[in-house]
Symmetry: C2
Subunit: 172 residues, 2 copies
DNA sequence: CAAAATAATTGTATTTTGCAACTTTTTCTT
DNA sequence: AAGAAAAAGTTGCAAAATACAATTATTTTG
């Protein structure tokens, strides 16, 4: 570090990371907040995904894609299991299922073992949809996230997984 | 690990990263998708933040917090500048401003230099609110994100910033 | 001076979301 | 075995957000 005649005004002036500025403005305390980056990334990613799925009846909102995949992969899965994966409450999950049922993508049956519970099954139409959605997810990962440098990808993915799992653990 | 007579069924079985399972279920292709983790993290983080701010009239939705801080820090800032930071369109930004004005947190004036544009200013009430929100953000970072291991924090923050900046660059 | 660009608003339509209250069926307790 | 507690889902409600297209007013450009 070079000589500096005066003391830094703030501790941050000591390190070499430049501040984040947008149009010449700083973002206050949000610059150091995990929540800011997570929420900002989400907004843009989700918007992009919505556009890609605009005509697919599972567009918009979080949970429909995961639900579709779970029902496709685990015939007979129950809404409460899905709610657990989604970290959502039952009403929210129930409504996601309502929509998929209404669209004819999945089927509801009463579970034979537990009359309170339901067993969900994919339909042919739903299975085809799931395949299409897989294609869209793959495309987004390749096209949208191309701004993540190749050498960063693995590290970022690993961090995300770790944080995600820790958050789940806290949640449960 | 016990002896394995047969070849692994999938390439993934070769490496040592365990698959992510929730309640015994895998999440299909989403397991390798950036979007899944970003969207899941966002949902839980945003819900937590909403609860913390439930009675603060800036609760819910993305953008109000950033807007409040920008107006607090940059008197005379214009809606279009805010929209740029938020990566939102003008109608969305305008409505965020509407609500803050209605709540008496900020004030709209016509910009002297450009009659089309507005200049926004914080009110005393809004400034007090901004201070409260700063406290909440700090509290959430400390309390909610305690699940991020201390040794991961810097690295995760750095990755998030890098990805965020690259995404912005792509967006512009 | 007319045309194009820019700032912001309005209108509209579609959804989400979270919470609380309620029904039905199982499971637990004593 | 009976009553209480827990669990699975549903319904109702209230509050908003979101995106997109079209419109008004003001500047800038050619």
């Amino acid at each position: 570090m070079t000589n500096r005649a005066t003391a830094p005004k703030t501790p941050e002036d000591e390190n070499d990371e430049p501040h984040i500025e947008i149009g010449g403005m700083r973002i206050d305390i949000l610059e150091g907040a995990f929540s800011y980056y997570i929420r900002s990334l989400d907004a843009v990613v989700s918007r992009d995904l919505d556009r890609r799925m605009a005509d697919l009846e599972v567009a918009k909102g979080k949970g429909k894609i995961t639900t579709l995949f779970l029902v496709d992969d685990y015939p007979g899965v129950r809404p409460s299991q899905i709610a657990d994966v989604l970290m959502r409450d039952r009403p929210a999950t129930g409504r996601i299922i309502d929509r998929l049922v209404a669209a004819g993508d999945i089927r509801r049956e009463t579970s034979p073992e537990d009359q309170r519970a339901q067993a969900l099954y994919i339909t042919d139409k739903g299975h085809a949809l799931a395949e299409k959605v897989r294609g869209i997810i793959r495309a987004q990962e390749a096209e949208f996230f191309d701004f993540i440098a190749p050498e960063d990808r693995d590290q970022f993915m690993q961090m995300l997984k770790r944080v995600y799992l820790n958050m789940r653990a806290k949640w449960d």
